[in-house]
Amino acid sequence: MSKTEEVFSFGDAAARNAALEEEIHGDTMVLNVGPSHPATHGVLRLRLELDGETIVKCDPVIGYLHRGEEKVAENFTYNQFIPYTDRLDYIGPIHNNVTYALAVERLAGIDVPERCQAIRVICCELARLLSHFIGLGCYGMDAGALTVFMYMFTDREKIYSLMEELCGARFTTNYTRIGGLQRDIPDGWLDHVLKVCDDVEKTNELCDKLLTRNRIFYDRCVGVAPLSKEDAISYGVSGPNARASGIAMDLRKDKPYLGYENYEFNVPVGTNGDSYDRWLVRVEEVRQSVRIIRQAVTKMPGGLWYNDKATKIFRPRKDKVLSSMEELIQNFMITTEGPELPVGEAFFEAENPKGRQAFFVVSKGGGVPWRLRIHGPSFSIISALPKILPGCLVQDVPVVLGSIDFVMGDCDR
């Protein structure tokens, strides 16, 4: 039988029976974890092959949350697609908005004013807090510490309230627009941000104290599922997981965008790449994010929150639309035709809370992308699971899944 025939012989009942027979009488047992299992953080299915309690082989099955976002994008104007980017990495939705807007702005060749950039930086870092808090909280929960999860969720709700004040929705933020933002920050919002930052910092320290040196937690994570530097690179792993493996890589430093070069922060790097390092990296990143937010709040520049030169891209202001014919027509054009973008391609990557998120926009002119490619960091780390899980015990699976902190909306898109 040729190789192709072998692959396609799955419909062959005899072959299937033989495989089943092998499974029943073989030395290993197959265990399905997921797709709907609380420990898999979404609809990930793992097909594990076990020898006793040890995992011999792991086969992640993805695609249960595939919604065809890339195809959806081809049927919408650039601004209409922004609500859909909320649903990519839905743990820190506002960061996807920002990354997407930056990608399209790169294609359009426009910049945004400093105020807009600073607001976006705060949004990105708040998204990082949102993401890391659920990552750390669920990690604790998966290791058996439910309390930490509750404390972190309490503070996440506070951040969500900030989002609600900022853009009108807690979760589906839809905040950025090509060339600017949906609206300016409301009065007093920055003070609320600072207050929440204090709370977040306190909770982070508290949970750090509760778990980092806790013997049960320590014993469950140290040395579990290490990902070596070389493997991390060859699987394209990025973000906190790569940093835990000792790769000093952070797009905010390597390819600064939004003026990140003007902020002071450190990039935490782990040494062993095991589950414990992944915890340490995220705890430290929360501290650094709070630091960045404080800097951004202190030097929040005045001015506009959108690019007023990009009249064919950013929607004119409402009062103008109501009172002037020219702006009214522009409003019609931007709504029906979409923002006017040149022919060309643009690639943009940003440091999402979970790693490198990238958009590749191909435009044939007009207001609708011809093709939009989305790269999600969770996909890379899930593809590394077959490498890191074998050798672990079954009860390590929740810990490892919690430690790599992925989200299926980002992986499946």
């Binding site: 004040e165 839809n174 320590y218 922060f265 990039v267 935490p268 109501l322």
Partner: protein, 181 residues
């Protein structure tokens, strides 16, 4: 690049006994027990809703009671999940607002589809559709949450309008017509 290598110290002997952790953990629990409550008794206690909240999209009237929507169908066009369906209608010539010419005959908003994105409000050139504070829209059947014009106006009510564009237009037109006599 400013990197920070995370050091990992092995647990000390005291930490290995697990006793300090228990004491510290219990202390945290004890403190939290007398801390401020963070939850709400929801239906009785309502969360505060900030300004500019994106709740259910509603249709609004201007202070004179004129329905502001001129059924330009921009919101229908822009709505990503296609939740809006508008049947345009004419304003009868003998009406006081005949110069506005058009108003929706029916305005169907399918709240089963709406994702509360607010793009309709942004696109509307008349500020006629506004996302307001209603966040809990419940019904026993699917038909009940497909909102129609009457319900949308009931939810929306009247909003102040600083510009009153159509009144201005009418005044200008009247003046021009008066000038010709």
């Amino acid at each position: 690049m400013a990197t920070k290598i995370l050091e990992r110290k092995p647990l000390t002997l005291a930490e290995r006994t697990y006793l300090p952790q228990i004491a510290a953990g219990l202390w945290v629990t004890f403190r939290k027990m007398f801390g401020r409550r963070v939850t709400l008794e929801y239906p009785e206690q309502k969360p505060p809703i900030p300004r500019g909240y994106r709740g259910v999209p509603t249709l609004v009237k201007d202070p004179n009671g004129r329905e502001k929507c001129v059924s330009c169908q921009l919101c229908e066009f822009v709505c990503p999940p296609k939740a809006i369906r508008i049947t345009p209608g004419e304003i009868p010539a003998d009406s006081a607002t005949a110069h506005v010419e058009k108003a929706p005959k029916d305005f169907e908003l399918n709240m089963l589809r709406c994702i509360y994105c607010g793009l309709c409000e942004e696109a509307c050139p008349e500020r006629a559709i506004v996302l307001q504070n209603v966040y809990s829209l419940n019904a026993a059947t699917r038909e009940e949450v497909v909102l129609h014009k009457d319900k949308l106006y009931e939810l929306g009510g009247t909003l102040p309008d600083k510009i009153m564009k159509w009144d201005k237009k009418k005044a200008a037109a009247d003046k021009a017509a008066g000038g010709h006599h």
